[in-house]
């Protein structure tokens, strides 16, 4: 059961420093949206607000049509994958995956063998069958991140949130996992929000990409839209492969010719 996510006019300050200044965003059911931006642009903060790890000053987040501020973190049922895996070191791989289910209150908790069966299934799904008894320290980075994803999926999340999931991995593993994650997403179809600073990752994986800068969304659209019609100068400068020349975006898109795209409807910030 996955739901659409609506973010409405979220504002969040850290002390005097505004981290998010009125961000609105809608993620459709089963859609994969990437939040892309330079460091300090507020993308992780936005993800943490959606997860309920940070409280926004203003604005609200809806899962379906329920305002999540009325829900406890448990009721939100979020699958969160962290950049540094955040696996529990003293638990085996199987226990890590099963943990989210085992700690449920008794009336909603499945029986023990059901939990084990489901955890094993998930390990199968992330191609780690046979690693049940190992500990996180005995796994490679890519394997750990897959365990983290299995753990996030174990609680049957309504929404999947990934915070730079491949940020700590080397380029090769990252590429493999990217491919794998896309297949997994097509299979499972969770509504997914996904933070990254890797442009290739964002444009390759996501249905839509939201580009953040200084706590605002500069543009949101499909990869093609962004590459062909960057809405602001910042987007054009930030995204590789767009040449911005005097208020016009010039960009070869996947073999297209080098003709400048007309940008009549452009609202440019000086």
């Amino acid at each position: 059961m996955t739901v659409p996510v609506v973010v409405e006019q979220i504002e969040k300050d850290f002390g005097a420093y505004p981290a998010l200044r009125g961000v609105s965003l809608k993620v459709e059911t089963g859609e994969l949206v990437a939040l892309l931006g330079p460091s300090g642009s507020g993308k992780t903060t936005l993800l943490r607000v959606v997860a309920g790890l940070e409280q926004p000053e203003r604005g609200r987040v809806l899962f379906g049509d329920i305002d999540v501020s009325t829900l406890s973190l448990r009721e939100r049922r979020i699958g969160f994958v962290f950049q540094h895996y955040a696996l529990f070191r003293h638990m085996s791989v199987l226990d890590n995956v099963a943990f989210g289910l085992r700690v449920r209150p008794r009336h909603t908790r499945p029986p023990a063998d059901e939990i084990n069966r489901r955890a094993r299934e998930l390990l199968d799904l992330v191609q780690l069958a046979g690693f049940e008894k190992r500990y996180p320290s005995q796994l490679s980075g890519g394997q750990r991140q897959r365990v983290a994803l299995a753990r996030a999926l174990a609680i049957e999340p309504q929404v999947l949130l990934l915070d730079e999931p491949f940020g700590a991995l080397d380029a090769k593993v990252r590429k493999e996992l990217r491919q794998w994650l896309r297949e997994l997403h097509t299979r499972l179809g969770h509504t997914t929000l996904f933070v990254t600073h890797d442009q290739d990752e964002a444009f390759e994986l996501a249905h839509r990409v939201a580009i953040l800068n200084e706590g605002r969304i500069e543009q949101i659209g499909t990869p093609r839209e962004i590459l062909q019609r960057p809405a602001t100068e910042f987007v054009a400068k930030f995204v590789d492969g767009i040449v911005w020349r005097g208020g016009e975006a010039v960009r070869p898109v996947m073999g297209d010719s080098l003709t400048p795209a007309p940008l009549a409807d452009l609202s440019m910030s000086a």
Partner: protein, 435 residues
Amino acid sequence: MWKRRTRGGSSRQGPGPESSRFFCFFKRFKEIARDWVYCYRKWRHCGATHQRRQVVRTALTDESLLRGLAQGDSLRLTAVGSWTAQYAADLERLVDRAVAQGAAVARVDLDMAGVDNIDTYGAWLLERLVRGFAEADRRITVVGLQEHFRGLINEVHQSNHKLPDIPAPGVLVSAAAQVSHAVNLIRRDLLLYVEMFGALVLATLRILIRPRRFRLTSMVHHLERVGWRAVSIIVLITFLIGAIIAQQGIFRFRRFGAELYVVDMLGVLVMREIGVLIVAIMIAGRSGSSYTAELGSMKMREEVDALQTMGLDPIEVLILPRVVALVIALPMLAFLGSMAALYGGGLVCWFYGGINPDSFMEELRDLSFNHFIVGMSKAPFMALVIGIVASVEGLQVKGSSESLGMQTTVSVVKAIFLVIVVDGVFVTFFASIGM
């Protein structure tokens, strides 16, 4: 220098067992060739520099780089050629002279159209010229600068400005600012501690309603770590402290022939104050720091966040078992520590003071049992203080390992300080109720 080094090296080496005569000859030949190349390069280099200098002197005179023409109250400067590092020395002189000339006029026009090449030196000298006039309150207009130099010129224009003088605050003001900052930090800390205490009370109440949620395994684990494993070091140190107190007491009291009263002093001091205080301080250093480090590293690796997203309360899961373990362990350790201190003191009394164990025990029995109760009743509160400080500081850890180390240190210092403060509060409390 270079020659000497290679030659010295080769003579030192000598013929090795595998080096043939041909090899020696070859080596020598190589050295000679290298020397020749070196000399040739040096000669050529000298020649080249010499030639270049000549070019500078003959082809480019002062006038060709920056020419000045005074017309009434305005000075017209025309710049041509390459404003580059090569001519920087001449140009610098010209620029300085132009600035000096400009002192006599009201308006300066600079035509840069003739400049076909400019680098950072040139750009900086232009900037110096402009600033020189600007400082002397002369109006200067620069025209004809080629467009593609614009970026460099602007960049130079931004740099090397004197910072505006910010008046340094007076001694009193800065002292007051520091005090207010410190007070703010203390206030923030106290609020955090109170908040944590409240959260712990709430978590305890929730556990009381549903006791099965308490993480007994975790609590027992921490009990073993902070309690059982600390026994040996605690006993050893308190034993020594008891012995030292007894020795000092006997040494001083002997003058008055009042050695026997050392037993009273030892008993009161150890049971009321020293036993529990020393143990609490040691536990703050030993276990408080490890709590902070553990929680801090979990916070750093986002494990705390991971727990939260699974709907668990980190206070209930991580902190409550630790604090409960500490509250159970500290009184036990304080008891053991007091006994060890009395034992150490007793041994010193026997061997050093000649008070045999029977009279030692006799004297100890005469003491009021209140002393023991006073000492023991302090222990759980001190444990609570240590636990709260350690947890709060642990959760304050930000993403870096520096902050982890800093918070651990801070945690120990604050915990020890607060333990002593709490002890002081208890002293006044028990004094006022007459115990």
